[in-house]
Chain length 405, copies 2
Amino acid sequence: MALIVQKYGGTSVASAERVKAVAKRVARLHDAGDQVVVVVSAMGDTTDELIALAGQITKQPPPREMDVLLSTGELVTSALLAMALKDAGYEAISLSGAQAGIKTDATFRKARISAVETRRIQKELESGCIVIVAGFQGITDDNEVTTLGRGGSDTSAVALAAALGAKVCERLTDTDGIYSADPRVVPDAKRLKEIGYDEMLELATYGNKVMQPRAIELAELYNIPIRVASSFNDNPGTLIHGGVSMEVRNKVRSVAYDLDVAKITVVGVPDKPGIAAAIFVPLAKAGISVDTIVQNASVNKVTDLTFTVTRDQMQDALKVIKPVAKQIHARDIASDSKLGKVSIVGTGMQNSPGFAARMFATLSENGINIELITTSEIRITCIMDEAKVKEAVRALHKAFEVELG
Amino acid sequence: MALIVQKYGGTSVASAERVKAVAKRVARLHDAGDQVVVVVSAMGDTTDELIALAGQITKQPPPREMDVLLSTGELVTSALLAMALKDAGYEAISLSGAQAGIKTDATFRKARISAVETRRIQKELESGCIVIVAGFQGITDDNEVTTLGRGGSDTSAVALAAALGAKVCERLTDTDGIYSADPRVVPDAKRLKEIGYDEMLELATYGNKVMQPRAIELAELYNIPIRVASSFNDNPGTLIHGGVSMEVRNKVRSVAYDLDVAKITVVGVPDKPGIAAAIFVPLAKAGISVDTIVQNASVNKVTDLTFTVTRDQMQDALKVIKPVAKQIHARDIASDSKLGKVSIVGTGMQNSPGFAARMFATLSENGINIELITTSEIRITCIMDEAKVKEAVRALHKAFEVELG
C-alpha cells in the first residue's frame, strides 16, 4: 500500500459535475489499495472573482484580510469533494490548511511553509479516510490564515507529499504534461514521458507556465516525483523526477519562450569597481526583480550594462535608474519593452558547445536578430524582438527535432 | 467608553456597496468613542447558493462538510468589512468563529455555544481595533468547524455581547423593529419602542420571524438588551430587554401568526394511563417536533387526542402514528395540513381572563371558526383554517388597538 498525493487544479473542479468526476478518479485510486491525500484549488475563476470583489471595496486590500478572503475558495472545493466521495460510499474528510497542519510564516499573500504537522492527516488516513486538503493556504503560529502565493496549491501538494513520505505527487489539471514546446505554437510538439527536476526548473523559470518553479524546487529538495497529467483523460502525462535515464539526459528536452521581457541599457558607463552595485542595489531596494544581466567588454574604460525586467516593472526601474545613471556619469539610458526570450533546455547540453552554435545558426538562417544571450549549464537563452519569438520557437523545435522529447 | 456589539444581516451586506455603507455606520459608532465588535452574516443569498451547490453534489450532504462549506460565507463578509474599514482609515481586523473563541459542541449544522474565550477579541479591542467576527460559526475542542443553525449569527452576537459584557447588542437588518402585527398584513401596525424578553420569545415562537427564539433566550439569560433596527436608516427600532416599564406591561403587545401548521387527531382512544406516552414517545424518537397538544375531556372513557406539527413533518408523523393507533385501539386518525395559528402576546394578559374572551368574541364576530386553543401566561393562540389567518390578524389588531404598541 502506497501513499499518493493528488492535486486538482481550478478547471478540474470548476463545477459540481467536475467535482463528481474528480471524486470518481480519487475513488479509483483508493480502490486500487492506495492511501490518498487530495489537494484542491478553488473552483474555476473563484479566486479571481474574490479578488475582484475586494477590488470593489478598496484599491489596496490589506494582505491579512485578502488571505482570509481568498482561503475560502479552496475550503468550498474541499468540502464539496468530501461530500461527493461520501455520497459514492467512501470515507472522506476535508481539512483546512490549518487542520492539515500546514504551518507558515506570517508573510500574507505569499507565505512560505515552515513545517507540516501531519498528526491529523495520519490519524484520518489510518482510519481509512480519503483526506481532502484545501490547497494554497496555511496557518501561522499565531493562528492567522495565510495564502501561499502563485502556484500555492502545487506547493501545498508537494509539501504534503514530502512530509507524508508519498510515493508520488500527481498534479492533475487541464494540462496533460510537459511538451517539447508549447503545442499552441508548435503543433507537432511531443509530450515528454519524463523530465529531470533541474530541466523542469529551467523551463518553468524561462517561460513554461505549467508549474511555478517553487513547487519544483521543493520536490527536488525532498526527491518527490511529480506526475503532471490531465484530470480529463487517463494519459500518463509527464513524470518530473530525479532519476531520468542517461540516454534521455543526452538531449535537448524542450523549447520555452517568454514574452514578458523588457530591456534597459545603461550606455557609456565609466568601467570602474562599484558600478554594478551602484545600479543594482537601488533596484533591489525598490523591489524590482532583475532577470538577465549582461555587461559588454570594456572599450576605452567605458562599457554598456544591460539588464532585463518584466514589462510591468520597466517604468519603475527607469525611475530608479535615471538619477543613478547621472551620478555614475553614464552617457545615456536606452530601453525596449517589446522583447521576448526563447530558451532551449536539456541536461544533454552540459559541456557541449555544439548546441549553442546550432541555436545561433538556426536563428540566423531565419533572419532573427539576437539582442542578448544568457546561458546556464543546461540552458541557452536568446533575447529577441517579441515579433520573432514564435517563429524562433518553431525553427528551433525543428532544428533540434532528433534530440527533442 | 462602552462596548457595543452590532450584528448585520445578509441583506445589509449583500454587495460591496452595502458593505461600505455598513463600514460607515460602524465607523460612526467608533468615532463616538465606543468599542465595537461587529458580527456579520453571509452576503445576500450566499448561504442558499452554497446549499444549492451541495445539493448538486449529493442529496444528503454530510453535516460536518456542510459546516465547512457554509462557514465560508461569513468569512468572506468579515474580510470585506475589515477591508472597507481599513480603507476608511480605521484599525480593523476580521476573526473567524475559531479565532474569536466561539467554542461549541460537535452537533454539526446546529451546534450550541459552550463557551466564548474572549482573549483574542479583548487584545484586539485594547489595541484600538474594530473587531469583525464571522457569525453563525464556531469551533469544537477538536478543532472542527461548526455552524449554529437558523438564526445562528444572532446567537453569535448575543453570546459575544454576554461574554464581553456589552452594553447592548444591536441587530441591524432590513427589518426596522418589532411591530404590533406583521405590517404586510396590517398596514397600520405600529413599531414597538420596547418589548420584554418573555413577550418577544412568545412572539418569535408563535410566528414572528424577525428573530429566532434561541438568541432571545440567551439574551434574557445574560440580561443583554437587543436593539432590533434597520441598517438602512437611523430609526431607533425596538429595544428587547428585561426592564420594560409597568405601564407598557399592562397591554397586549403584538399579534403574531404562523401558517406552517398541520394537525393530527387520534380519534376515539380508550382513555387509560400510558396512552399519551404511547403516542408521543415514538414521535420524539422519530425526531418529529410536536407543538400544541390538546386532549379533549373523556366521554365514556373514550377521548380524542390532537397535536400539531409543521407541515413538512405531517407525513412522517402519520407514518409513525398509524401502527401506534392500531395498537392502542384508536377508532381513527384524522389530519389537516391547511391550518394556521394566530396569537396575541403581552404580559398585560397575565391573570386577566378578559383578553381571552375578547379574542374569541372577535373571531366569532368575523365568522372565524377556532379549531384549537392553547395559552401561556402571556399568550393566547387560536388555531384555524389557514385561509382565515390574515383576516383574524387584522380583526384582532383592530380589537386590541388601544392596548397594542
